[in-house]
């Protein structure tokens, strides 16, 4: 879903940069105020893994492929969508400047779609589903919806840019990312969260939070 320079006129691309910038700055503040120093290796491992897995396009049929985005995964691990924004910003910067995967003028839009929208929708869908469903199902649902909504937003941006006609663009982007979201995002996020929950349950911030709550209850 990396938008190339040619797909968005410069004036609109700048608007997306202006919208994305406060989110990027707050994600840096999140690191400064919330990221524990001992968790830095976790952040770096997730960022490297996401860069690598984004190079692995999965065929979804219809002559189309797609790959994981990963913002929801990072947000769930750190119990904060800002962590997802931060990691995707770093990954997208390297992809844009190093590999021409996504434009530089459109980097703001790409950070907005893949870092902010997919991460926030994914994480808050996860926490909502988590109240009634298992962790793996909630992770699947959150990651899937996060990717799907970001693709819909991307289709609207393409229509505003005059690049795609609105309705056919929405249909094509929606259909492809509905499927990419199932395999590339939902399934992988659910598996990785499951693996972390099993091997390092202490890493998932939500487990630590509930642990503190339990300690508080015990004291009360």
């Amino acid at each position: 879903m990396h938008i190339p320079d040619a797909y968005i006129p410069l004036d609109q691309a700048i608007v997306y940069w202006i919208i994305a910038l406060p989110f990027i700055i707050i994600s840096m503040k999140w690191a400064k105020n919330e990221l524990e120093e001992m968790k830095v290796p976790i952040l770096a491992a997730l960022a490297a893994g996401i860069f690598a897995i984004q190079a692995l396009n999965i065929p979804i049929g219809m002559g189309t492929s797609g790959h994981m985005v990963g913002a929801t995964l990072v947000a769930i691990v750190f119990a904060s969508p800002w962590a997802g924004v931060l990691v995707l910003t770093l990954v997208l910067l390297v992809q844009g400047f190093g590999f021409a995967d996504g434009g530089i003028t459109t980097l703001g839009a790409n950070i907005l779609n893949m870092g902010v929208i997919s991460g926030f929708v994914g994480y808050y869908t996860y926490t909502t589903l988590r109240r009634n469903f298992s962790q793996s199902l909630a992770a699947f649902g959150g990651a899937w919806l996060g990717l799907f909504v970001s693709a819909i937003v991307c289709a609207v941006q393409m229509a505003l840019a005059g690049t795609f006609p609105l309705v056919p663009g929405l249909k094509a982007m929606g259909l492809f990312h509905l499927i990419i979201g199932f395999i590339g995002e939902g399934l992988i996020t659910s598996i990785v969260i499951g693996a972390i929950a099993k091997s390092r349950p202490d890493l998932l911030e939500e487990n630590r939070a509930s642990g503190t709550e339990r300690a508080k209850e015990a004291l009360a």
Partner: protein, 100 residues
């Protein structure tokens, strides 16, 4: 720095490097969702025009490849990118974190 977290980092690096080496062989070369949608909904002449436009800022390894190096160049490009992201995010995290 907790030893267990360093172990997680090493495991993460290993998985990321394995994915980086396999990606040029396993990744589908079909267009991604956005490109495929573009091919489906944009008129051919306009699509050709869009495809001809160069990125505004040139990148050293466009399309995760090194010119003239074939598959080994693709592996090298993705491995380099993975290590770069690793270094940048580690360095960034070291610079910006909650000092306790």
């Amino acid at each position: 720095m907790k030893a267990e977290n360093m172990k997680f980092l090493y495991a993460g690096i290993l998985i990321a490097l394995v994915l980086s080496v396999l990606a040029p062989f396993l990744a589908s070369s079909d267009p991604d969702g956005l490109e495929s949608a573009a091919e489906g909904v944009i008129e051919e002449s306009k699509m050709a025009e869009l495809e001809e436009m160069e990125p505004v800022v040139g990148a050293p390894m466009p399309d995760y490849a090194i010119a003239g190096m074939g598959k080994s160049g693709e592996i090298a490009a993705i491995v380099l990118g993975t290590l770069l992201v690793l270094g940048i995010s580690f360095g960034f995290g070291k610079l910006f974190n909650k000092k306790v």
